[in-house]
């Protein structure tokens, strides 16, 4: 107060028409709240937590350079629901409860903008959170899609689903705030969302049509599958989620005594979307069974093939990005076998296979069954012009998958035919195979070590998508692993000289030990040699 103060006349107040003014006020409020929601610590923390592990993967070099985009989007929505959606739920709830928590609701209640419009502003502001989620998901998927090894395509509905989930949970947050005036409800709601997510991934739920009514989709297969056999009803599920959101909006507005006609309109739109989307998404697709049978039993009819050098690679639609990776492994294995063996048997071919039925139902089939399946595959391969094709799965990019393929290729080159499933390899052959895989490249060696850590009794070159993989008993793997520690110049000449003997079916493991001078564990009397493939 340094001079006398007088009351200046107030500037002329703009007097827009009532609805117009309200609409403008609503938009201004939504903008204001959107800004506050975006800079809320929880929103920022959620964005960091959503991107952090992914960024770390890139920085530490452990990120997969061969992502399957459709699968990545499944993982992203499973992450986005608790992290981005959960934060949106709590932030929206706190915003809704703000006036109550700070005891200013009494003064707000007499403001020009009625409660329903204020809540409308909060709900509109949620679009900003959804927008940020779309951006975050877009960044993750976009970076993946730009990789040369990326596989599959991005469906718009699956891309938008995480943002729709954020919108839905944000609306849940506002709804909780309107219904119960306690900050306790929102965190509990987040936990219930987690329960739903847990339910969505339970095998017993995945077999039923109910699972589509849950907010997130979990694939019934543990590995990526070709788009034609995926049962993800992305667009209809999106409609269902949007419908649920609109229903919540209608409930919030009804509670705040909004105009009846508006609530009724929202209610009917929401019902149509939610019920329509919800019901149609679980309708069985009549062509699905046939498509799955084709993918599993006669993939050649729908696959494309390319030839690199003298090797043919056949892959499902969209999986072409893997070929260069496969080719690297095939080339590296061929480089460590003698020249004569590098093109033994019919022309080398690699074919992508996915045993849908076996991996979906969590069945443990008998070995005899596996042998029958593989025999059928072999017949099909011969008919398709790629006899004795090496099998490869639908996942690629980690060292274990490289090791599994390397083992398949090594067996094919050693035996002149593709592995036919069944029992484990025995004798010198098993040890040689382990050595070849380890010798081929640092990646295959690392993958083999990783496989060794998680397998018991035998080193098993199989992951989920390549059932019927090759396995070598620990007794045979041990001398080969020891040999891999030797300087690399010594061993290859010996391998070349004794190739025929080492690859013969009946050469015992002791002979391997003798040739390379590595100790071989004596066979313990109670375990015996076990069942070996012939």
């Amino acid at each position: 107060m340094t001079a006398t103060s007088t009351l200046a006349p107030a500037p002329a107040r703009p007097t827009p028409s009532s609805t117009d003014g309200r609409r403008q006020a609503l938009l201004a409020l939504a903008r204001f709240e959107a800004f506050r929601m975006l800079r809320h610590p929880l929103t920022i923390a959620a964005a960091l937590l959503f991107l952090g592990p992914w960024l770390w993967g890139w920085l530490s070099g452990s990120a997969n350079r061969y992502p399957v985009l459709s699968d990545e989007l499944i993982v992203i929505q499973l992450l986005a629901l608790p992290i981005l959606g959960g934060s949106a739920l709590i932030v929206a709830n706190l915003v809704t409860l703000r006036a109550h928590r700070h005891k200013v609701d009494a003064s707000y209640d007499v403001l020009v903008l009625p409660p329903a419009w204020r809540l409308g502003g909060f709900l509109l502001a949620l679009l900003s959170l959804a927008g940020v989620s779309l951006l975050l998901v877009g960044v993750r998927v976009g970076v993946s899609a730009l990789l040369p090894g990326a596989v599959g395509s991005v469906d718009v509905a699956t891309l938008v689903t995480p943002a729709a989930l954020v919108l839905l949970l944000g609306a849940v947050g506002v709804f909780c705030g309107v219904l119960i005036r306690s900050v306790l409800v929102a965190p509990l709601a987040v936990l219930l969302v987690l329960v739903l997510e847990l339910v969505a991934t339970m095998p017993s739920i995945i077999g039923t049509g109910w699972r589509f009514l849950l907010p997130v989709y979990a694939s019934e297969f543990p590995v990526p599958v070709p788009a034609s056999v995926s049962d993800r009803p992305a667009a209809r599920h999106l409609a269902y989620l949007v419908g649920l959101t609109v229903l919540l909006v209608a409930a919030v507005l009804a509670r705040a005594a909004a105009r009846r006609s508006f609530v009724a309109a929202a209610l009917s739109v929401g019902l149509i979307l939610a019920v329509g989307g919800g019901l149609t998404q679980s309708w069985p697709d009549p062509g699905m069974a046939a498509a799955r049978a084709t993918v599993e039993d006669r993939p050649a009819s729908i696959q494309s093939c390319v030839t690199r050098a003298d090797v043919t690679y056949c892959f499902f639609d969209g999986f072409g990005g893997f070929v260069s990776g496969w080719d690297e492994v095939v080339t590296s294995v061929r480089a460590v076998v003698p020249d004569s063996a590098a093109s033994s048997g019919p022309p080398l071919a690699v074919r992508q296979r996915v045993p849908l039925e076996e991996i979906s139902a969590y069945q443990t089939g008998s070995i005899a069954e596996a042998v029958r399946t593989v025999a059928a595959w072999k017949t099909a391969d011969a008919a398709a012009g790629t006899p004795e094709a090496v099998r490869v799965g639908t996942e690629w990019g980690d060292a274990r998958a490289s090791a599994v393929l390397a083992a398949g290729v090594a067996y094919r080159l050693m035996a002149g035919e593709a592995f036919d499933g069944g029992f484990s390899l025995c004798g010198a052959r098993a040890a040689l195979l382990v050595w070849l895989v380890g010798q081929a490249s640092p990646t295959t060696l690392a993958g083999m070590r990783s496989l060794d850590e998680t397998s018991m009794g035998a080193l098993s070159f199989s992951d989920v998508s390549t059932l019927f993989g090759i396995s070598a008993p620990d007794r045979a793997a041990a001398p080969a692993l020891a040999l891999l520690k030797r300087p690399s110049a010594e061993v290859p000449p010996l391998v070349e000289r004794h190739w025929a003997e080492l690859t013969a079916r009946d050469t015992p493991l002791e002979r391997f030990g003798a040739i390379f001078g590595v100790p071989v564990q004596p066979l313990s009397p109670e375990e015996g040699e076990g069942l070996c493939t012939t």
Binding site: L42, A45, L49, G52, I83, L184, L188, V195, L198, M202
Partner: protein
């Protein structure tokens, strides 16, 4: 106010103004004070959120038990972890104290009230946890779950929740720390879920189980020490 509001000296006049002798005000020792504090503190405490959250937690374990569905042990463990999270969320309300502006200059230290609240929260939360365990055990093939280790996890979660509550109480001038505390707890849980393999806490049964539960024990101890610190250490004077 109908009568003259003079302040009678305590030992001279009683409420009706008659000159009688009321017992001289005596200060009790800390033990007597603690005993006298128990009931009003329990009444002041927000036990309803904790009870609600605990009951929601128990409700989560009921469907698998009553439907008789055989879940893999790891799924039961995940479900029980959700129960812990529920109880933890309830515990973040334990230290909410709207009378903080009045109470903070009184001779009884804040930690004494907090201790009473901690015991009450542990009792209520513990009851809910035990109920969840009993329900889970009544299901099929759940006799051999590692209940002791899971209880250690639950104790750690509750300790972290109480720590969050203490930080919220400390940071909020009005003593309502739960909004901060709940958010902090949920963030901590998310970070826990995203921890990389070498320091992972949410492990499945198997190889890493024992090592992970050593880490859980450290979390529990760390949270307890930190809580004591938050409740007792005064803002440092800068010189």
């Amino acid at each position: 106010m109908h009568h003259v509001s003079r302040v009678p000296a305590p030992e001279a006049v009683d409420t009706s103004g008659r000159a009688t002798r009321v017992p001289v005000l005596r200060r009790g020792g800390r033990a007597r004070t603690a005993v006298a504090l128990v009931w009003p503190t329990l009444r002041a405490m927000r036990i309803v959120p904790l009870l609600t959250a605990g009951l929601v937690g128990v409700a989560i374990v009921i469907p698998p038990a009553v439907t008789g569905s055989v879940l893999p042990p790891d799924t039961h463990i995940t479900v029980l972890r959700l129960v812990m999270a529920c109880v933890g969320i309830g515990v973040t309300f334990a230290l909410d104290d709207p009378a903080k502006p009045t109470a903070e200059t009184l001779p009884v230290p804040a930690w004494l009230g907090a201790l009473i609240r901690a015991v009450a929260a542990a009792a209520v939360g513990g009851t809910c946890w035990v109920a969840a365990l009993v329900v889970t055990r009544s299901g099929l093939e759940t006799m051999s779950l590692p209940y002791a280790d899971l209880t250690c996890e639950a104790a750690a979660v509750v300790a972290v929740a109480f720590l969050a509550s203490a930080i919220g109480w400390r940071r909020s001038p009005r003593g309502i720390g739960s909004p901060i505390a709940v958010s902090a707890l949920l963030l901590a849980m998310t970070v826990t879920a995203l921890l990389p393999a070498p320091v992972r806490l949410l492990v499945a049964t198997g190889d890493g189980w024992d090592a992970a539960h050593d880490r859980w024990a450290y979390v529990l101890a760390g949270a307890l020490v930190a809580t004591v610190g938050v409740l007792t250490v005064r803002r440092r004077r800068r010189r």
